[in-house]
């Protein structure tokens, strides 16, 4: 067993194209074989701007696979709001959120973002007379109603029945909440 630092030095790979240290390492499984590709940042950029590969075993072809893998990784790592369908990347690109539920769906990312903008993350000040719970419940209702419609369209009647029960329960909860504040 080699110790950590030795392993670190031994692990430093060279770019398969030039001999600079590789900073991007891709592990690929092709036809049951595990292939490792190592590239430096410059060569990575270079490969990304190249056109269609001709040879299945050429470095260009492997590089296209890298591009696909990177895209897939990004997609996996991009949270989505189940209420309105917006992805976090989409939000960052446009600067506008899709619905109130986004603050919950992207909670872990919103906190540092708000800290960045306002220097604070906890709201102090006015709140609506009706509880915040009502607001989230309303949100959930919108989502469940959408799901109910799809279930009925797809003839998934068991699912539809379950959803309908959930909706009835939430609406009763809402009525209870409103009654409390009056």
């Amino acid at each position: 067993m080699r110790n950590g630092s030795e392993r670190g030095i031994l692990r430093m790979k060279k770019c398969r194209r030039c001999s600079k240290p590789a900073t991007l390492h891709i592990t690929e499984i092709r036809k049951g074989e595990v292939v490792e590709i190592h590239l430096c940042e410059v060569c990575a950029k270079d490969y990304l701007s190249q056109s269609e590969p001709t040879d299945a075993s050429s470095p260009d072809f492997e590089f296209e696979k890298f591009e696909e893998a990177a895209d897939q990784l990004e997609a996996i790592d991009d949270p989505v709001c189940e209420n309105c369908g917006i992805t976090f990347r989409e939000f960052r690109k446009n600067g506008r959120l899709g619905c109130a539920h986004d603050y919950e769906a992207f909670r872990n990312d919103m906190i540092p973002l708000l800290e960045n903008i306002h220097g604070e993350t906890q709201h102090i000040g006015k709140s609506p007379r009706r509880s915040a719970g009502t607001s989230t419940t309303q949100n959930q209702l919108v989502r469940l109603k959408g799901q109910l419609k799809s279930a009925i369209d797809d003839e998934r009647y068991e699912d539809a029945a379950k959803l309908r029960d959930e909706i009835i329960a939430l609406e009763a909860e809402l009525k209870g909440d409103t009654a409390k504040t009056e």
Binding site: I86, H123, T134, L141
Partner: protein
Amino acid sequence: MDLDSLTQNVSEWLRGTGPESDIVVSTRIRLARNLAQFPFASKATDDIKAQIVGQMQSVLVDLPISKPLSWIDVEALSDVDRQFLVERQLISRELADSAWPRGVAIAKTEDVAIMVNEEDHLRLQVLRSGLAFDDCWEEMNAIDDAIEERVTYAFDDTFGYLTACPTNAGTGIRVSVMMHLPALVQTREVSKVFNALQKINVAVRGLYGEGSQALGDFYQISNQFTLGMSETQIIDKVREVIPMILKYERKARAEMLDAKRADLHDYISRCYGTLCSARKLSSEETMQLLSSVRLGVNMELIDNVSLQTLNQLFIQIQRAHLQKLKHIELSKTERDATRAALIRQRLTDERKDSE
């Protein structure tokens, strides 16, 4: 509401009265709110936006507040009418330029305006003449409460009122003061003041004109952050910087009077003379002239025109206002002539009144 009738109207907040009205034209408070059961603007279909309009129209028109509100369907308006509302500061440029179901509910006195389907579902606005934070907030707060009785706002215990843009989350409040700072512009000290403000997170921008240009020497001072402080704390933060700006502007004005009173008096009188006699005036030139005359009135160098008239003229000489006055489309040349005629008329009437 009949927009043509508005042209005859004298907006409450342009009265030119209120505390510090020599420099402070108006105080404005705006709240951003969203309804809990609909997606935000970017993900709301036109159908949903129409639903929001339908719901809010009936809520706002029947709102039990001291000033009854009238509904204006902005989608159905002509471009000129939309531009007219923008010039009167009743709707934003963004609302005017959008292409989906949207509207605004306004009070006849024009000091309350509630936009529907702008960046957020609701943008509530209250205006006051001069420096009037508490009065403004009291009315804004009451309106917010009245609306919230009838709808459910999107709200989170941690993040506060939820807005489409995180820069507005939390209180959703924007507190702004519109100030006339011709002396600071003249002595080129304006950027010094603004740098000082930026350091304490107060935002400044020129009101008219592109980029850093501030036609007419009008500037808007407002809060930068909306989360982590209460509404009253944010109001106080803006309130605190005003005395400093007032002091600097007044000091610069006093220095100008000291150094070159005769020159200043001559210059301002010529500006007034041009406004009284010119046959064509571009909007840029007019803004400059009006700004100098307004300074002259505050410095008591001339007195044949009131602050109220001047404040109103800044709005009435704008493009859509002139067009609505004439009821036909005007070319630039015709606008410049109409503008000059309007000003000549108003200034003559004013002189007659004072005799």
